[in-house]
């Protein structure tokens, strides 16, 4: 086998062209990882929103909370379902919710507004949903115009500090707490008591009812029982799949964009790698002849050149992965078109994503090195030695 040191030293002989190729690959890998991290972050925010153990009930045919409506009567019927878990206080763990969008002015750009979700929740919601935590202040008290603000909204809009006053729906609301929700899209919402929010928005209707199942396994039974009741006219969704499905169009668009952009970029970078390797083979024709004369088999020569291309690509890919790392955790926002609301989310770089990015770089090296290596292996010794 031709030692890898030979390739490493050859690379050093052509520092400029090797490093240009590597940097080209690095940029492609960096953009690739960053764009996937964007899509990943968006989907993660929605996927984490739901729990397997919860069910969401919407009006029959409604595909988002925005288009749904559930009467008080139906909500009462639902609350008596035997599949609902009972909380420590002996009451059913259920939260009939009002869902509305309000326009909040962006602090830096007064001409545009963002549509932010206001959710009216029951007192039980803090136990029904997982990962909820009040990080500052105290929960809103029943009967008062008080709101709790999701962590991701802080700093993006004004008047959200504790003690601040927020005006929407024709009333003034006191901000009494901030909450976190495990990175989910709830962190982009404003929560208040459902009975306070209902009259200022769309009248005597809830938009959804969320409840904790006695056990994740009883979901199918609960769904069958509730949907077959002619009095209710509702659809029952598992909370986790419901919110994951809400990623819909926006999630698909982010992925499509990532794939389209990086594949075109990758083609350009691969051509660069091919050029570099052809030049490497061309300028080292006599060396290759010597290697062949020494008794190395053509496939060994081919492998050696392929290894060189992969070496350059791997170096580039690792640099690219490092370049992409700083975007991890960066918060950005976009509208979730399924619910028309703006949600903030973080770029999310996982170890798996880094591995995929580096693998992508290595594959570019293999493709870029293949034909030049093939040519090297097929050199005629006599001709080459001339």
């Amino acid at each position: 086998m031709i030692p890898i040191v030979y390739n490493a030293r050859s690379m050093m002989q052509r520092p400029v062209s090797s490093s240009f190729t590597a940097v080209g690959i690095a940029l492609v890998v960096a953009v690739f990882i960053a764009m996937l991290a964007l899509g990943q972050g968006f989907r993660a925010a929605l996927a984490r929103t739901g729990s397997d153990q919860n069910a969401v009930v919407l009006r029959k045919g409604a595909d988002s909370e925005l288009s749904s409506g559930i009467s008080r009567e139906t909500a009462r019927l639902l609350a008596s379902s035997p599949h609902i878990a009972t909380g420590a206080d002996g009451r059913p763990m259920v939260s009939p919710e009002v869902y509305a969008l309000i326009p909040l002015p962006r602090p830096r750009d007064t001409t545009s507004v963002a549509n932010v979700v206001v959710r009216g929740v029951s007192e039980q919601v803090w136990t029904v949903r997982h990962h909820l935590q009040v990080i500052a202040g105290n929960k809103p008290q029943s009967g008062r115009l008080e709101v709790c603000v999701g962590r991701k909204l802080l700093g993006r809009f004004e008047h959200l500090e504790i003690g601040g006053t927020l005006r929407f729906g024709g009333r003034d609301w006191n901000v009494v707490c901030h909450f976190s929700a495990g990175g989910s899209s709830f962190e982009s919402e404003i929560w208040a008591e459902n009975e306070q929010v209902m009259p200022v928005f769309r009248g005597e209707f809830f938009q959804s009812v969320t409840f904790r199942l006695t056990d994740p396994g009883v979901f199918d039974d609960a769904k069958r029982a509730i949907e077959s009741d002619p009095q209710t006219q509702v659809d029952v969704h598992r909370e986790s799949t419901f919110y994951a499905a809400q990623a819909g169009i926006a999630g698909a668009m982010l992925s499509a964009l990532a794939i389209a952009v990086t594949s075109i970029m990758a083609v350009g970078a691969i051509f660069g790698a091919v050029n570099t390797m052809y030049a490497a083979v061309g300028s080292r024709t006599p060396e290759i002849a010597v290697l062949l004369t020494l008794g190395f088999r053509p496939w060994q020569v081919m492998l050696s050149f392929l290894a060189e291309a992969v070496l350059i690509a791997t170096a580039g890919a690792i640099v690219g992965a490092l370049l992409a790392l700083p975007v991890n955790g960066l918060v950005t926002s976009t509208t979730n078109w399924s619910s028309f609301s703006e949600i903030a989310f973080s770029f999310r770089i996982t170890p798996l994503l880094l591995a995929i990015g580096i693998a992508f770089g290595v594959v570019m090296g293999v493709i870029g090195g293949f034909f030049p290596a093939w040519r090297a292996a097929r050199l005629q010794v006599v001709q080459a030695l001339r």
Binding site: G24, A62, S67, P103, G268, F271, T334
Partner: protein, 380 residues
């Protein structure tokens, strides 16, 4: 010009390398043109809006409705020429997965206010006359093969149940920002089926003159300030711009990607140029010996890089310009009127020039400055 054959001959020596370099320039400029066009299309569409049109919304938010009786009150205000209204329907087609924009409108007043929505006069008449008639965009007709006279059934998500409409008209928008994939039907039919609820999603207000936007908007909002449902009125342009704003800081992201792409390709091209110059050190020496001036050699190498940049950019930009209209790209309906503008082509050309200078400069300088003696040493 007499050196042109020499330049071409030089490029032809490494056919694979030249081809690959040109291809990567094509890829870069195609991508650049595409990304920039997303931004310009968004910007153009955000600026759409009749100068004389205002939009009145419920002050509580986009998704809340207002009593349709407001229309008459608005109409009686000074400076208002006419009023129309619409509702978002949000139905699904087929197996319940397919989605496109559907609007319940007051047909006569709405179409009078939007001369940009164009269709044959008899279709317009047929649409206005029939309660359950629908008007669809050309793209919808092509996508689903819908014909005039055909019944189409949607599943309502906001308004439950099956809704069947008869297609009576197919429109083509004169302004691409309107989109050719929407469906319009009678607001009255919607209102009747949901039990005469009498609610409008938004009002479109046409003013007597474009200059009075501020005062008319204020007059409308003052009128309803103390009623059960307060309103918020703004120009149609601001209304459109708010949708573009919903995409968040996408433009920053696309700009960043575009820069990375151009930079990556610059490296590839510069690399190829340097390699080919390196291999020809000996030739440069010979050319100098037989009397080629330093300046000519400088020009020759630069022209070689320039030819690659020009061919690559003309093809890359040309393909982008031709490709998107060919596939009728509209970005899943988010980018109606997607177009590679002349400004984008100009920027692309500018990038090509910079590419040429950046990638050719170092090798060209080296060729010009190289002492003959040293260069000839390499020729054995």
């Amino acid at each position: 010009m007499k050196y042109f054959p020499l330049i071409v001959a030089n490029l032809g020596r490494h056919k694979i390398r030249t081809t690959l370099t040109i291809l990567s320039v094509i890829a870069a400029l195609f991508l650049f043109a595409s990304l920039r066009s997303v931004l310009t299309t968004l910007r153009t569409n955000a600026q759409f809006g009749g100068a004389r049109r205002l939009v009145t919304l419920n002050a509580t938010g986009l998704v809340f409705t207002m009593p349709v009786s407001y229309a008459n009150k608005i109409k009686s205000l000074r400076g208002v020429h006419s009023v129309s209204w619409a509702n978002w329907f949000g139905g699904r087609y087929g197996d319940g997965k397919v989605f496109f924009g559907q609007f319940a409108i007051d047909p006569e007043s709405y179409l009078a206010m939007y001369p940009e929505v164009v269709m044959p006069a008899e279709q317009k008449e047929a649409f206005i006359r029939e309660r359950t008639a629908a008007l669809i965009g050309r793209r919808l007709a092509e996508r689903y093969g819908w014909k005039i006279g055909q019944d189409v059934t949607l599943q309502g998500t906001i308004f439950p149940g099956d809704w069947t409409f008869t297609i009576r008209g197919i429109y083509t928008p004169t302004n691409p920002a309107i989109g050719d994939d929407a469906m319009f039907f009678h607001w009255d039919y919607l209102d009747e089926r949901v039990g005469r609820w009498g609610q409008a999603g938004w009002f479109i207000v046409e003013m007597d003159s474009a200059g009075a936007a501020g005062t008319v908007a204020k007059a409308i909002d003052d009128q309803f300030r103390n009623s059960s449902t307060a309103t918020k009125t703004g120009t149609e342009q601001a209304f459109q711009a708010s949708f573009a704003g919903m995409l968040g800081n996408l433009s920053l992201l696309l700009g960043f990607i575009g820069t990375a792409v151009v930079f990556a390709i610059l490296l590839v091209t510069a690399n190829a140029m340097m390699m080919s110059a390196n291999e020809r050190t000996g030739e440069v020496a010979i050319l100098k010996t037989i009397g080629y001036s330093d300046r000519t050699l400088f020009g020759l190498v630069l022209a070689e890089a320039g030819l690659i940049a020009i061919v690559g950019s003309v093809l890359g930009l040309g393909i982008a310009k031709a490709f998107y209209p060919l596939v009728k790209f509209n970005g899943f309906g988010f980018l109606p009127g997607f177009n590679v503008t002349a400004a984008t082509m100009a920027w692309g050309a500018l990038i090509a020039v910079v590419l040429m200078i950046a990638s050719g400069l170092v090798p060209a300088l080296r060729a010009a400055r190289m002492p003959i003696i040293q260069a000839l040493r390499k020729v054995e």
